[in-house]
């Protein structure tokens, strides 16, 4: 079974300095200096793929894991990590300007769909439910529509069955649903319990992590002709500051007592 993990490498937004959030009349924020990290939901999806592969040992099913990202050259080191972890294919659609893909879910899904149609056919496409910067929350659903495949959202676990079926656990209100699902399908990963990607060994990095990444151009993947049906027209900073009172005292115990007596006691007694 061929499974494609689509991931985005995002800037660590906690590292953006406050002044940069207060820039007006721009349609994107300069995040170029921030450390790059896996988008958290995508990271969970990639780890889930590896766990699925682990679980298939001894079973009569083989998973071919591929990964695709759309972004800058810096993102290739992330693909090489995936090679070292056992992914057999790694591809990047080369988009060097972050703002081009920030609020462009239709363009992104077109790129992914054309990769699957033209470069490497797939049985399952896994994505995170949303990215932390664009917050569009659309890509997996648009992919399902482009292929006419079913989609399962808020996926938190995968288990092998056979070459045509997967056991998919997804979170729903009040619990979770475990389904036996026929492929092909699109899976949108939510808050997976094991959301950190494992770390490859140095040996694996040396042996597997140096393979070249397949580079694709956006115009060859149909992305240049895709017009978004929704356009961003303004970005506004948000002021969330409150008039904070800082409790000063000589010891933490005194601070705690002050907090309780002055601010909590009455509030808690009223509940």
């Amino acid at each position: 079974m061929k499974i494609l993990g689509c991931f985005k490498v995002v800037p660590d937004l906690d590292l953006i300095v406050e002044e940069d959030w207060n820039i007006e009349n721009h349609l994107h924020i300069d995040t170029g200096y921030a450390k790059l990290i896996w988008n958290c939901f995508d990271e969970g999806a990639l780890e889930m793929m590896l766990r699925l592969s682990d679980l298939s040992e001894g079973l009569n099913v083989v998973y071919k894991l591929s990964a695709l990202t759309i972004g800058r050259q810096k993102t290739e080191s992330f693909l090489k990590t995936l090679y070292a972890l056992g992914f057999s294919e790694g591809a990047r659609i080369c988009v060097e300007e972050e703002e081009e893909i920030l609020f462009s879910p239709e363009m992104i899904s077109e790129g992914i769909a054309n990769y699957v149609k033209k470069i490497e056919g797939q049985d399952v496409i896994l994505t995170g439910i949303q990215s932390s910067d664009g917050n569009n929350k659309m890509t997996p659903y648009l992919l399902a529509e482009k292929f006419g495949w079913p989609c399962i959202t808020q996926v938190i676990g995968l288990e092998p069955i056979d070459e045509e079926q997967l056991k998919v656990t997804s979170q729903v209100s009040g619990g979770c649903i475990v389904r036996k699902v026929k492929t092909p399908c699109v899976l949108a990963t939510g808050n997976a319990p094991c959301s950190y990607l494992r770390i490859p060994t140095l040996k694996a990095k040396m042996k597997l992590g140096k393979r070249p990444v397949t580079r694709l151009m956006p115009e060859d993947m149909g992305m240049s002709e895709t017009a978004e049906s929704v356009r961003v027209t303004a970005l506004n900073p948000i002021n969330r500051k409150r008039n904070t009172v800082v409790i000063e005292a000589d010891s933490p115990q005194e601070k705690a007592r002050c907090l309780y007596e002055k601010y909590l006691k009455e509030r808690l007694s009223e509940l």
């Binding site: 932390s132 036996k180 009172v245 010891s251 309780y260 601010y263 009223e270």
Partner: protein, 319 residues
């Protein structure tokens, strides 16, 4: 242009979702004509049992089990013209709004916070309405305005929107479309109920722990203090990812959005994605060793110190 509510009749919190749809319409759609609601549900009986409505008439799309593909089939068959379709704030609402717009060559925005109309010239002197939507982006650090280019306009609402009391009485059901047996990709399925998230949504007092709690042992101190304060324990994403607490205790954009009377944060930096989850708290206390952590300016009261002795002392006081 007319607007329609699209309602998830399978959801346990269907009434709250309807209240938020109604609150949204009252605030942003004044003067726009309202069309029938579209309700996807198990049966007409379930809809009648609600005994509340926010549109006079409704069309039902029914199936014993919820399957987005079946609902989409019914929805897209039914919609002949453009208009604005307002979905609820849950995962189903988000998915259906995006897929319906894609299927009908319309446009969609998820997690809409607000909406307004503008008039623009179509080029031949005629004025056309444009729909603009505001939503949070950059993990809730900023809000962005979007203009939607193509009808039908499909939006899902952001969580925690203002709500409006529903009208008493049931919907007048105009039509029921049955969509059984449309989920051919599902071979079997089983629902496993999960221990409740501790009622984070309804909690009056919340003690939220972040990365600064450092380990699971320290989390036990948080638990103990929470019991003393009669608070529910919640965590930020880094704490949940370290499995110090299960994911159903997660607060923030991808977890619970809470509005307790008192929210005490310990070792939380105050990342915007987390803060969005506690923003509606009436009173926020921040305890952090870093006086420059963002949370220290977004709280009502802050303590610059290690959380452990503070928690232990609070626990002693509560005894």
């Amino acid at each position: 242009m007319r607007y329609h509510f699209v309602v998830n009749g399978y959801a346990d919190d269907v009434l709250r979702q309807m209240e938020e749809q109604m609150g949204f319409a009252q605030k942003y759609l004044n003067g726009m004509e309202q069309g029938e609601a579209i309700i996807y549900c198990r049966s007409a009986e379930d809809v009648q049992k609600l005994e509340r409505h926010h549109s006079k008439e409704a069309v039902l799309i029914s199936a014993r089990e919820y399957a987005p593909e079946a609902v989409l089939h019914g929805l897209c068959d039914r919609i002949a013209d453009g208009g604005l379709y307002i979905f609820g704030n849950d995962d189903a609402g988000t998915e259906l709004s995006v897929r319906m717009a894609a299927r009908l060559s319309g446009s969609s925005v998820t997690e809409a916070e607000s909406l307004w109309l503008s008039e623009e010239s179509a080029g031949d002197g005629e004025l056309i309405n444009k729909i603009h939507v505001m939503k949070m982006v950059y993990a809730n650090h900023m809000e962005a305005a979007f203009v939607m280019e193509r009808e039908p306009y499909c939006i899902s609402l952001a969580r925690g929107a203002a709500s409006q009391e529903l009208r008493m009485g049931s919907f007048v059901i105009k039509e029921e479309i049955s969509c059984e047996n449309m989920a051919e990709h599902i071979v079997s399925q089983e629902f496993y109920p999960e221990a409740l998230a501790g009622g984070l949504d309804e909690a009056k007092v919340i003690l939220a722990a972040g990365r600064g709690v450092k380990n699971k042992e320290n989390m036990a101190v948080i638990d103990k203090t929470a019991r003393g304060l009669k608070a529910e324990v919640a965590v930020s994403r880094p704490a949940a990812m370290n499995a110090w607490k299960p994911m159903n205790r997660l607060i923030g954009v991808s977890g619970a959005m809470v509005g307790p009377e008192v929210c005490i944060t310990a070792g939380v930096s105050g990342a915007a994605a987390f803060y969005a989850g506690i923003e509606k708290s009436k009173f926020i206390v921040a305890i952090n060793t870093d006086e420059k952590a963002p949370i220290m300016k977004m709280a009502d009261v802050a303590i610059v110190d290690d959380f452990l002795p503070i928690m232990e002392e609070l626990n002693n006081i509560c005894k």
